[in-house]
Assembly symmetry: C2
Homo-oligomer: 102 residues x 2
């Protein structure tokens, strides 16, 4: 990617069922543009690295520990390492720009 | 920050001359919403960690190694560790969401 114009409209590839993605990998972090299909859910997981991002299109509900929020375009999130988090989408896909440390 | 609604409009604090910022710090990464004033320039630097982000408002020219691009709202960048990069702004401020590994 390097520079990516209009990342909210870029072509994505199948990543896993219900999720399309295009990622760039560095030594210490991965940046991925991801589109999560409608009516999908991750009921919660955690990992030993920080994660953050911003919603580019659509709507997604996320929880980070005890905090829960419905995020829309231009809303951001920051998930500290080790904190349980999850998400669910609604009737439209959500597109996010997500960054994970390694 | 945790969740931040409309990060493109959030209140920022003076960070250094010409730059206002609000950051969240994790173990392995920092996410910062930064507003860079008009007509500013960083002629180039490098560091041993990856950096990436997205333009939220305004316009900024960046170079990463030999690549150069004028970035506007919804355009993203990824700077691999160790690669010289810099930027300049034009007649309006640029607001970016920037993520650095540690």
């Amino acid at each position: 990617m390097g520079f990516q114009k209009t990342v909210n409209q870029m072509d994505l590839q199948d990543f896993r069922p219900g999720i399309r993605s295009m990622a760039e990998f560095g030594d210490k972090m991965t940046m991925a543009c991801m589109e999560i299909g409608s009516e999908k859910e991750d009921t919660g997981h955690q990992h030993p690295f920080d994660q953050c991002g911003i919603v580019l299109e659509g709507k997604i509900e996320m929880f980070i520990g005890d905090s829960r929020c419905i995020l829309e375009k231009m809303d951001s999130y920051f998930i500290p390492a080790g904190v349980t988090h999850g998400w669910k989408t609604f009737d439209v896909p959500a597109r996010i720009l997500d960054v994970s440390a390694k």
